[in-house]
Symmetry: D2
Subunit: 342 residues, 4 copies
């Protein structure tokens, strides 16, 4: 059985990553590629690394015939995506990778993104796409909202602990180190090689990063009361990777046991031996997430570190994992390639 | 049908790359991993990026039972490899990735490597492993010698032109830009991040690099007379990739047509549109080789650039391609993953 | 007036950085270079970037005549340094860059370094070399102990706040991002370009890093009671730089005012406008430290980020600043070069 | 004596490099900074690494009063620069860093840049700014045209050999490896970190790079007959540096002797011991150029490698060296800082 796939936003990094993954998937075939700004080009012109693949040329989104598409990935910029999704056929299965459908509450959406949502119906319909925790809802869903890559990393580290009630919910600090591809293929001065290479810095300090909206939504729902974490992202001179260093108050041993138990059967989450720490280099290009727990010298405090590839497990790999569920395919299909090291 | 595989030298980069590739191969299973200096360790200790795989622990080579092994990859240092290969069962299929069996002439071997060969019988038996040009001999071979990664790159660019007799054989310059993983996982000062990052330089200038032995052997055999190229490798601050910039005298149009014809049916060699140039970033982590031809402003001169991943197409990918042939498996099996970009 | 300088440990990175700085200093001249493992070599052989300088060849330390040396920098490995310093002339001015004389308490030294101190007299004599806070004691000192580079960064961010008593001393988290040159020119697998580039990770997690000994000593002394911070260093794929992201509880406005006041007259410490964050790229190769203060969305919490170059302000620049004081030279002499960007 | 300096184009990389260098110059003071697109901003907003300097805010160029300016650096884009220079006071000393005044022949200019020159008088007046070879003309000049950074590198390697008539002028190949800052602070997709890091490629292959105009002009003038070299630039994932690998036919020993003799008294050109090769990492941030000569295994052929920092010796350092001459200051003043390594 082969399913027919469309990718909208094929000229961005998450679009390219979807193509890379689907090219190795035995049950999916790419039937349409949309990329308004680069419509008319071949994929070889936009992404020379994919030139060996036989793929359709890029189209304007409104040129695409969705009649025979089984599932559509939307890898479009936020705000654009909600308009496009609202106009797609109402029965088309969609995995959206933008920020547009992550927040269920219209007020929360407006608070973090500044505008009224243009597709409120779809916003209500969308299922939050953190696969390991929303499998039951994702499988039958029509529209799944991919999570923020930072939000995914932080939740892998923290969700089981919030549920178990074994950490102080008012004392959670997430210090994230993010590679540059998370910012997309955008022409900004601070993303130039000469500006970024050999240097690193914090950004969106103090609680202004939009992925906080997801943390607030998810952790508060799990805890049954408002939870607000501290979260500082940093831009690191590397192309792929997110490393979350998480400071919590709680018993390190119970934390470790809780995480081990939570992820014992998960194919993509690896909890390292107690005291070891993951590296982004060891998950690069893969759908794996590595988690390490360490005891602090101060009693009752632990440091939990989590590493994943923002483009794969943090975005396009997660999206494919969800698509597999939605199409009734084995969840891990097309996603078990080993990381690229060195 | 599943074949049982052993990898000797599993703690080096080409060993890790073999494991990465074989982990995604439907007909191969790793039964034994040898790594004398790290025997007793698990693969997760040596290569944390492979921790999700179920693999045997590393063994001393003499602890390995080769009775049920269908094919053995030797990813050992040169000089070591010839001793190990000589001691392996005489009917064991072997793909050797070292430099030990690349040169057919014992005198040439001694000239470039400085010592008498310790396995002359195997040296005579070995087939040169440049798959695209030695398929007929590789398929039935027992022992195949993987090529040098630089030697592979230069030959992909030049062999069809030497055969066609359309370039001046006395005026060939190969200027190569090599990423650092080609030097292996060795503790040398010049391979430290602080020494290499942000800088680049030529090395083995003037004709001292050992891969020249392969160029001499192969090009002279093709031409039916001695051919000696100029070859300057450079160390570039990147982890994977070889870029060969080749300066030749000949008609650029004929050169382009000849390369297009030579590689028209090759699954892994892509000749770009005339005038375009490849980037190592666009083949990284893949078994593809991209080739570009440009016309110089000086009449009768052309520049040919070739890019591949030294660990994949230049080494372990080539080795697996050869193993597929030797085992009667589809040649491309396990090797068609797209490059990792960005 | 020109002072005669010796540098012991001239073949390491802090040694090279001292030479770079002193080469531009109008009142210092290098008379002797010691480097036991590379004795007999010229500086051009050990550090080709310094080949344009006229410098003495490297000597065994016991070959050096200290009779006419006005001041000696010891850039030796820790444990070695204490033995060498104990054997140097008793009236020789010394700036030590190792870890050996940073901790005043022999028990604390043993706790963090595992051995009895071999030069207890000098340990007692040594002045802690954080220039901005120990100027009065450094100027007349004979032996000054350079601080740890991580310890310097954390103290620049925190000392004025501890003194002012405006942050919760039991709730301080220092998340540090450190470039690779801080690990020195040592042949370790994890410092290879192929291992480090494109990846990053935490290390010494949970309170095992030795620079914690300095934090404990200094903050406790300032506070008049025991203070223990949480501190997690991370290795980042860059050659120079330390970025400290510091999470504290206290009023962000008072914190900002306190830091502005504390550093108003300091030539090398720049407090950025409120809410801005520094980048290591903007201090690279210089003796400047940039500090930024941001308000967290959670009331009563602030994030303070500090950036400096570990080899300059974190080590050799600090050492020269101290040497200037000890020799009666203007403190900033030879240290005001602008950072190298990009 | 202090001279008053203006810098036009202060928001680009060569502008920032000029500020860095002049900040350490004892006889120059920056009186005006022009940057049309960022007029009104402070230097700290445009280049945070220069925030410690007391500098005037950026102005529109037409807001600048040139009455008291002793010398003006124009670090503007080409085509813009010729218009600005034509409108500056006729007696103002100018060092131009753009491409606009490098080619003396209006036809050559039009051939390489595609447009008629808008300041032909100044074009005729301008002196070519390769300091080591045009000192006599530069010192009394009013307008000096900085060379291309690639053109400078190639000429340092080749000029003495062309003059001496000891290499085959029809067989010169320049293979250049260029760091990314040479492309300026421009928002282009191929200059993004995610596109460039970890990969490298050739560009402007086959004789289309505009610096060829300079090679043709200079080498032909030296030889007294037309000389055309082959020249292939490559973009390397590093921020600073140019490495020229030059293939020539001639006697390696005579070549070496000729280069040693030519540069024996030059303060910034270092010819390495025969057979050694320079690295860009060893000249980074400095005004030094390192040159190495190696013998090829093919008789009568040599490889000459030259390394410099494109922003310093290749551009702003050269410009300051010329300004020193024009103002009657010691030529090396402000330029002898050692390279930054690592």
């Amino acid at each position: 059985m082969t399913y027919s796939i469309a990718i909208l936003g094929a000229s961005g990094y998450t679009g390219a990553e979807l193509i890379r993954l689907i090219a190795g998937h035995p049950h999916l075939a790419i039937s349409a590629l949309g990329a308004n700004s680069k419509a008319g080009k071949t994929i070889a012109e936009v992404f020379p690394h994919l030139r060996h693949l036989e793929l359709p040329a890029l189209l304007q989104i409104d040129q695409i015939d969705f009649a025979n598409i089984d599932l559509c990935f939307c890898a479009l910029p936020h705000k654009t995506s909600q308009q496009v999704v609202a106009a797609l056929p109402a029965d088309l299965k969609i995995v959206d990778l933008s920020a547009d459908f992550r927040l269920r509450d219209p007020d929360a959406y407006k608070k973090w993104y500044g505008n009224e949502h243009a597709a409120v119906d779809q916003q209500h319909e969308a299922v939050y796409g953190l696969t390991e925790f929303y499998r039951e809802q994702i499988a039958p869903a029509r529209l799944v909202a991919g999570t923020g890559c930072n939000a995914a990393t932080g939740q892998f580290v923290l969700r089981p602990l919030v549920v178990a009630g074994i950490i102080d919910l008012d004392e959670i600090i997430l210090d994230l180190k993010c590679a540059v591809s998370g910012a997309g293929r955008s022409l900004k001065e601070n993303l130039l090689h000469a500006e970024l290479s050999e240097g690193y810095h914090a950004y969106a300090v103090g609680g202004t990063h939009r992925h906080l909206g997801e943390f607030d939504q998810e952790f508060s729902a799990l805890a049954g009361r408002p939870v607000q974490v501290q979260f500082t992202p940093h831009l690191i001179p590397a192309n792929r990777g997110i490393l979350a260093t998480t400071y919590v108050k709680g018993d390190p041993d119970r934390i470790y046991e809780t995480l081990c138990a939570a992820y014992a059967d998960e194919p993509f989450i690896e909890v390292l031996p107690f005291g070891e720490t993951p590296s982004t280099h060891h998950v690069r290009g893969s759908n794996y997430c590595h988690i390490g727990v360490s005891r602090d010298r101060l009693p009752g405090r632990a440091i939990i570190t989590g590493a994943l590839d923002n483009l794969t497990k943090g975005s396009s790999g997660q999206a494919l994992q969800n698509a597999n569920l939605m199409l009734g395919i084995e969840e891990t299909e097309g996603l078990t390639m080993a990381p690229l090291f060195p």
